[in-house]
Symmetry: C2
Subunit: 396 residues, 2 copies
Amino acid sequence: MTKIAGGFGASELFQFLRDGEPRTRAELAQLTGLARSTISLRIDELLQHGLITPVGEAVSTGGRPPAQIALNPGARVVVAADLGVTHGRVAITDLSGAILSHVLEDLVIANGPVEVLDWLALTITKLMTECGRPLADLVAVGIGLPGPVEHESGKPTNPPIMPGWDGFDVPAYLAETFPVPILVDNDVNIMALGERAMGWPDTEDIIYVKVSTGIGSGIIGGGVLQRGAQGIAGDIGHIRIPRGTGVVCKCGNEGCLEAVAGSPAIIADLRGAGHDVSTVADLVALVKSGDTGAIQAVRQAGRDIGEVLTVCVSIVNPSVITIGGALAQAGEHIIAGVREVVYSRATPFAAEYLSIVQSRAGEMAGVAGASIMAVERALSPEGIDGMGAAKAATGD
Amino acid sequence: MTKIAGGFGASELFQFLRDGEPRTRAELAQLTGLARSTISLRIDELLQHGLITPVGEAVSTGGRPPAQIALNPGARVVVAADLGVTHGRVAITDLSGAILSHVLEDLVIANGPVEVLDWLALTITKLMTECGRPLADLVAVGIGLPGPVEHESGKPTNPPIMPGWDGFDVPAYLAETFPVPILVDNDVNIMALGERAMGWPDTEDIIYVKVSTGIGSGIIGGGVLQRGAQGIAGDIGHIRIPRGTGVVCKCGNEGCLEAVAGSPAIIADLRGAGHDVSTVADLVALVKSGDTGAIQAVRQAGRDIGEVLTVCVSIVNPSVITIGGALAQAGEHIIAGVREVVYSRATPFAAEYLSIVQSRAGEMAGVAGASIMAVERALSPEGIDGMGAAKAATGD
């Protein structure tokens, strides 16, 4: 029998508190579809912990004016960490996702969980001091990792580029230092959450595509992040494409999208043609300088990605596809390639209302998503229960 | 601002009531992740309407023995209708999905909504009489239609093979006769719901594939049916496959899976080779008779479907793919073709725990899913509210 994680209803209520707009209980009941009595219970819990606060007076429809409530964003804080293959971006945010302190540092994920998580713990402590908040204010930690993660347990599973991390209990290890809920997910998944929150709060079906060294996607369907059975839903980088025939991918298969359209393949091709380019940044600069060869290469990568996204459109039926990641900074050329293929090949009805655009969240997508994941848990019934215990433990 | 349909929490609680097993409130709170107080409120509402009932006494952990409750399946009934292109299957079921009366009749969906829905209304009335239940016992109607449906409004949108149905307000039309919630969805979507309920109740990520004249799929992700932005998520029949080059589909595109691997294409090929075969039933019989040509044709269709499902596996990361529809009755040959391609081509980690099997629900998948969709709404807070009004209106 499956246990539904996170406390059901937590996300729906949170969705309508996060924007910070004051609302009455009746409005929240209407928006979430929850019974009035259920809303009142949840609201009372949140009020008791100071996580939401009464504000002003709503216009009455007769009788006692119904009190409005709103999120009290500064009441507590969360950690939002986006750990990549070669960098770590960590932020302390308030409950609305506003960044209070923030750091971006080089970090080698392949150095293993102990070294990386010790660095993270130290960084969290520093950032909390920097923004003048006691550790007792911390209510949850959200972390994105560059590999498959079993979200329920927070353990990476079979991560191809993270030696030493397979099955490592990330929440248990960090909980020794921070006795709060610790949520872990794949980095592209949290980027999809962040992209939606920062750019498309009213969109229920969205695919966020990260194009960089690797190519991956995070899928939100019916308003909910889709993780799949092993936490690898949206793993489009290893779908075979026709142009990949004969190209061996580092995963061991042949013809993977990532092996053909990821930045290393483009860079290798351009170097072969005599260009002086070795990093994604070089490649983006070359495209922006107007180099025709680089522009054509990036546009072709867009077409390759479009081949796979055409199929995604039939399967997921999104209303928005957003393209992010380092290579998306090469601008309109990659999007143009994607659109060229998707709009000519997808079924007309699915393509009719589909937007394909550049990411709105940009490089902050991961941190934004990690913050949301953490705050959502903190405001859930489970999170609230734990909060009582944590406060008691710290003598607050 | 999006309104969340159906009352949040309805589905989670219902999921643990549907199996009919008696449980305490504490157990339900633990299983759903709901606050105890929230569970109690919902339970009280359901008890008040007789939809659930107290049963026996649970083993106490000290103090007053906590009362167990269970679904009271016979308290009310719903209509479950699976309307295909050339047939209609309608059932009256109790709240557990058990069929009380049932009919399968020829029906031409292309005759338009008024004729079809008038037939449906008459059939419902007959079936209710047949099983000896007054109309006041009816709490919801669930309907599957063979085309895209905007689930929120219950209106078909752009259905290619349903002239006259585009934008028709199915719930409003039927509500003139039956003043209860009327839920409408695409037929393959409700088949996926039925397949999961009848065969895989503990599986959160599952793809149900219908293979017949058309080819389509219903996707359940994270335990929730994925409909997509226009209600056409899972529309795999119009994904292009390499073997389809030069084959024009009736949708107007070229190379669609359905145009290559649907039963009309297989039948045309076999007739061209001199076989006497004109219907899906003929084809299934020919395969079962051991005809090598027919077996090879069906196995190749399985491979073609496998090409597309390989991509679905990367995008959805299901733990189960089930194959249903009329052509699935051709037995192991179609599944063998699907497996041959998916297991050799999907990424190893996604394929490692993936089962590909024949549908367990068989031809009752649609009716089972329509019943679930109807009961779920009936037991939701919204459904309960409406129930009070309906009972009052009928003087009960």
